[in-house]
Symmetry: C2
Subunit: 195 residues, 2 copies
């Protein structure tokens, strides 16, 4: 990447955060090949709040309440939720999530984040995973922030299919299709006509 | 089940434990429709050690060492291991594993047990799950003991397929097929000829 002027960098920073509001200062610093301190100063000058505040403001704007499990039972932090439609959560990978030997995040933590998001998005008092097909695309390391995005694909009878894709920055690290059993089919907004 | 004499029950108990040495006293009591205390007395009279001791004696007889991860990184307790062939682990479902609301074990704990067993069975220093197809057959409750059995199906190049089936008593509660990436294909005993 050719060296950008400060003005160019700050303009690109605004555009990038508009597209992906969950990027951390560390990820932005890597992206622009500048120091984290430079990114912080850029944010200050452009009046862009820090990540936590950006997340909160997104969350406060539009946020359904989780019904199928208790909020503190969700693995990761839910920052956006539209019941029976879509949901987003973030999980910061810390020492307790990784293998000692190679600092790679253990698969079941990424699975737990995606699985609990697939359950949380269901608009029902009881929701349990029936089956899943999952794929780990690349290793996730300590310090990475994993953003999981769930999308409800269809509901047929008492089964709802939920697609979850998890990203570090712009790179997909995990994907899965979950079939979730729900107790009360009446509460489902049927998105698959004819069933 | 017609009421058995004590002698009949004790003989069946010996046969049953021979077939499934991991059954708990509670499961045996349910099976024979007697009290747990009765089962304990039966075991004493027939000189059958308690479950932990039975497991240990199985484990001490034939047990490879885990290579792909640290022993305390395995979710559940490994009680049998033949590298690149098969492995067994047990996980006792406690309060911390279940949903508060319905006392049902959270899917990611069953997944974690199966996934770490699928990795532990690999005869390599580096093994990571690439993908999996999993199914939850019935809910598991607090107090249940989950016995997971892993079987290596085939190794092609740097990918090994591992089938894991998990049981409570004689009932299957979880199954999954895991594709595990391994770093060193030379160490694999090729079980899929021609690759």
């Amino acid at each position: 990447m050719p060296k950008l002027t400060k003005k160019e960098r700050q303009n690109q920073l605004v555009a990038l955060l508009h597209k992906n509001p969950f990027m951390t200062d560390e990820e932005l610093a890597r992206h622009f090949q500048v120091s984290v301190q430079t990114i912080r100063l850029d944010r200050l000058e452009k009046s862009i709040p820090e990540l936590r505040e950006r997340i909160k403001s997104v969350a406060e704007q539009n946020y359904d309440e989780v019904r199928s499990l208790l909020m503190d039972e969700v693995i990761g932090e839910i920052i956006d939720l539209h019941l029976d439609k879509s949901a987003i959560s973030i999980l910061d990978i810390r020492e307790e999530h990784v293998f000692t030997r190679n600092q790679i995040a253990r698969g079941h933590h990424l699975f737990a984040q995606a699985n609990s998001l697939a359950v949380a998005v269901i608009d029902d008092e009881l929701a349990l995973t029936a089956s899943a097909k999952i794929r780990f695309h690349r290793p996730v390391k300590v310090g990475d922030r994993v953003v999981a995005k769930a999308k409800v694909l269809e509901t047929k009878g008492d089964r709802t299919k939920v697609q979850v894709e998890s990203f570090c920055g712009e790179e997909m690290v995990f994907s899965g299709q979950f079939t979730v059993f729900r107790s009360n089919t009446n509460s489902a907004r049927e998105v698959s006509p004819g069933t």
